[in-house]
Symmetry: C2
Subunit: 293 residues, 2 copies
């Protein structure tokens, strides 16, 4: 019962969660750039979206999403008409309009109906906030600085974005595919723990670069090890081609800050320097002595 | 209306949001390690928490949180008793118990009452999922890999965790304090845009290291620049002490993967190599020629 090892509670944050919107209905009131951002957020989460906004209020992106991409499931070309508009069986309401009083009103109505609601620009009224999101395929990273300042939030986001290897999303995707293949090969619930420990072995034996470039044929070769609990390495599956591990991501991390440094090892540079210095000096001495001779 | 510049919708994710729980009531059913983790999550977000779990089912951490730290607002030493237990005006229900059937039942009851609910281990039933969280003071980073595999999720989390400079949380905290001081100095709503652009200047002129070590006295000195719209630099405020910018964080990022490389610049190494090579060769030539002489 000692406190030593327990994480410290650190108040003042929000509860960061991944809200499930698959086949859920979302009402989005507004058609400007903020609304367009929200639309992408909820479509990324597979929601069924209704947009209410007069066509005169649609920004370029919203027009594109509605009329060209057709990613809005239902578009109502009109202004928000009051409480009845919230009665369509919605699971979430988002507003992004300039009218703060109307926003507040919609918020209260949604709350009375117990529908989760976010109102752009009126934070104290919201059930939840949006943060800064980084997306790479199945990988979602959300950065929240608790509203301490927009610039430092953007800087923080950039640091984290730069740190994520380019191919990590693909690696995660492929691990998911391999896992699904394993599940259909060994679907028994009892095999759960063994499946999990085998998948862990795969993730430890294969680097991100290697996982990111996995092809289906190679997945099948790896799966052959499942029965005797072994995991063939990338070297075994691929021969000795493609063995460089994660050096690319190290370089990238450095190159983000200092474009050249990432590509040159200091050891190599030092050694090359010794050779170069030695060559120059030898040449000078040899030239001098041949002149004397 | 071209599609060129608009971000691509990338389905299959969740909607990652920061749910606001300040002064909201949360019911947590369960007392094991998973429940203890949930407790920390919701207390981090300032919730008022009721735990229902027989004392025989409490893990060490939960006992510590309830009896020593006293961070549980209400503890009920009993098993969950049915629908009536959800009627206490809760804003969120979390369960972390071993009984999957009971979990499902609680979930359905909560849903009927339109209370957001998460049920550990029964993902399809949940309104929302928890992801892997990184917390540094006001900075919260959530990493979600969409359930593609626990190990690659942990690896991803580690990469991101390593990339976040140690002092970033403190830097964000200090920016928040400076911003609050500025607000009380210039509280007019009309000054909003000017305040924002001045704060942006501060964040651009001061490195994270410098911001993280800001003291209140220094904040007051910086604030003197507000009226004429100037931002004194760290050098101006502190003299020429402490001028090294962000090099520490670059080194850290590299050192995490390659402990030595981060500390040596390849340019420096190359240059040192030239000098060394040249020195060695000169010595050899001079020794040889002096022997001849």
């Amino acid at each position: 019962m000692g406190q030593a090892d327990y994480p410290q509670i650190c108040p003042g944050g929000g509860l960061i969660i991944s809200w499930q919107l698959k086949r859920k209905r979302v009402l989005l009131v507004g058609g400007g750039p903020v609304a367009a951002g929200r639309l992408v957020n909820v479509k990324d989460a597979d929601a069924i979206v209704t947009v209410i906004c007069p066509s005169s209020g649609l920004c370029g992106e919203m027009k594109y999403r509605i009329h060209v991409e057709k990613s809005v499931d239902e578009y109502q070309d009109r202004v928000f008409g009051g409480k009845d508009d919230l009665m369509g069986g919605y699971d979430m309401v988002l507003t992004a309009i300039d009218d703060a009083a109307l926003s507040r009103e919609i918020c209260q109505m949604a709350r009375a109906l117990r529908i989760p609601v976010n109102v752009a620009d009126v934070p104290p009224e919201c059930d939840f906030y949006f943060g800064s999101l980084i997306r790479r395929g199945p990988l979602q990273v959300m950065v929240s600085t608790g509203g301490k300042g927009p610039r430092i939030a953007a800087q923080t986001r950039r640091i984290i974005q730069r740190a994520i290897p380019e191919n990590l999303g693909q690696a995660i995707e492929n691990v998911g595919r391999l896992r699904a293949m394993l599940r259909s090969e060994a679907p028994q619930a009892a095999a759960g723990p063994k499946r999990m420990s085998w998948m862990i072995d795969v993730c430890e034996k294969w680097s991100f670069d290697e996982l990111a470039t996995l092809e289906e044929e190679e997945m099948r070769i790896i799966l052959r090890g499942w029965k005797d609990g072994s995991v063939p390495s990338a070297r075994q599956v691929r021969g000795i081609r493609r063995t460089l591990p994660d050096s690319k991501s190290i370089r990238k991390a450095i190159a983000g800050r200092c474009p050249v440094a990432g590509y040159i090892s200091p050891w190599l540079a030092g050694f090359a320097g010794i050779l170069l210095g030695s060559a120059i000096t030898s040449t000078l001495f040899i030239v001098r002595s041949s002149k004397r001779a």
